[in-house]
Amino acid sequence: MKVLGLSAFYHDSAAALVVNGEIIAAAQEERFTRKKHDAGYPRHAIDYVLSAGGLTPSDIDYVAFYEKPFLKFERLLETYVSMAPRGFKSFAMALPLWMREKLYQKDLLSTELNALVKADWNAKLVFSEHHLSHAASAFFASPFQDAAVLTMDGVGEWATTSLAIGHGNALTIEREIHFPHSLGLLYSAFTYYTGFRVNSGEYKLMGLAPYGEPKYVSQILENLIDVKPDGSFRLDMKYFDYCAGLTMTSQRFDHIFGGPARNPEDPLTQRHMDLAASVQFVLEDVVLRLARSIASQTGMRNLCLAGGVALNCVANGKVLRDGCFDKIWIQPASGDAGGALGAALAASFMHLGVPRKVVSPDSMHGSYLGPSYADDEIETTLHRVGARFVKMTDAEMFAKTADCLAAGLAIGWFQGRMEFGPRALGNRSILGDARSPAMQKILNLKIKYRESFRPFAPAVLAEDAADYFDLNVESPYMLLVAPVRQERRRPVSAEEAALFGIEKLNVPRSDIPAVTHVDYSARVQTVRQDTNPKLHALLSMFKERTGCSVLANTSFNVRGEPIVCTPEDAFRCFMGTDLDILVVGNCVLRKEDQDSALAINYKNQFELD
């Protein structure tokens, strides 16, 4: 059975292909259109997944969409009715969208699919609920035969948090918390209030939290959210404006936290950092309570996580260290793009009854599910764009790259299949020496064109991870935060401790300062030989030269740009930034060899996120 999964029309459109229960390919539309969070119909992603599976559109048995538009419309109508006459402005903005486009999603999908090939697509279209899609993306891709599945996000149709139980190829939603009570929207409210963009700035808030003190926890727990011992919760909606208004928070919220929301261009103060620390503390507390109560009530020993809140790797790390579950597995594409994969998996196993084969370490193929390019294709492209390069053997390429990294150079690293999900896991990455105290600043200011509150993620040989971090499990998808080991830490002087904000991050805190946060935490990616042999070989070569098996890994893009997809995207980004070396497959490009006329002003090409 060949099932095409789609997510589209809200944000992060994507397509995924599942054949007889096996994940073949998945990609986000933004990578092809170069438009961040592209919400359009994912025609490029569909073309790609079909070609990756060697299929034509007529081979597809079912198309699974990741949510149910009518249920979402029902929620909108009921919310507006319950808020009336307040909320008319929001209603007047939402309604035309629905009347013009969103109510017709089934027709729109049929029309677009008919453009590929004439067929009775209405009969082949199935719709999965939003949280079921998230849950399916986590459970069916996990290495577990039985597991509890916790999904948390902003909102889908009605559900904002759900508990499901998975056995073999069955998955049942057991309990849900409904809109407007949402952990994701609580976090987004603080994202908005601290001046970041809702739906993309949440990771900045998480990164900001270690700079602050959780001084506002009592205000949050006494006023905003009522959390029960089992982790279920209700928000007091008088502090929020997202049901009826066009902002996330209300004036009462401003009153509690001592002023209006920060404008995006205003400076960050200690108060904003304390707010970030406080909401992060509350989020972790709720997630921990949920996890503990699920463990005790279900008796399950395995936990799967998905939904946007599952990208909060600090909270995930706390759940892991709490020990309420023996094993946890987090879907790397936990946002809505992953819904495309979940819908296809749900349709395959639950709707069509395909038998499920549990695979170790999981069924995601390292999340390397996107396009790859053959050597001759890479060379043809590089010649066409005017690149000057040297083609090397594998051994020469690894040696050259490891030497350059050890010399403190910043490397664009483009290998194999593109990652699915928001993290670059070593196939579309910018790599640097984690030991270098300057690497943080170099990568941020000269290459990524941003200031970042979080240091870069460490990519570490899986077999050496415990030498650097207090982590006794694998973290292949950078979704677990773990402390840097005590013996690697460097004491900070009183003068350094007194520094403010991002200046704190520039103080080396360990022998791998480029990946150590101000609270000595790190967002770890463990690299296995069988999952990513090239990155593993590079790390091993780097270790041979330096004794260190950690590299700083960040996504291959600049601020506001989708991660590069093709060799041409990679060359463009290389020529528009201060990257020193670009390695595409076995082709190695040095910046000083390139024609300076090909340099482009890249910095202002993308809208800031």
Partner: protein
Amino acid sequence: MFKILGEFLVFMKVRKKYWLFPIMIVTALLGGLILLTKGSAVAPFIYTLF
């Protein structure tokens, strides 16, 4: 439009929410009116909710 109304009727039957029908009709009329009086429909920034 009629096809959508028909599908929505089936939806309400399944969900047992017939009380949504008059609201749907009023909404359709209001939505049509808003559409006629506005050039374009742009999602506000909190697009998660819509």
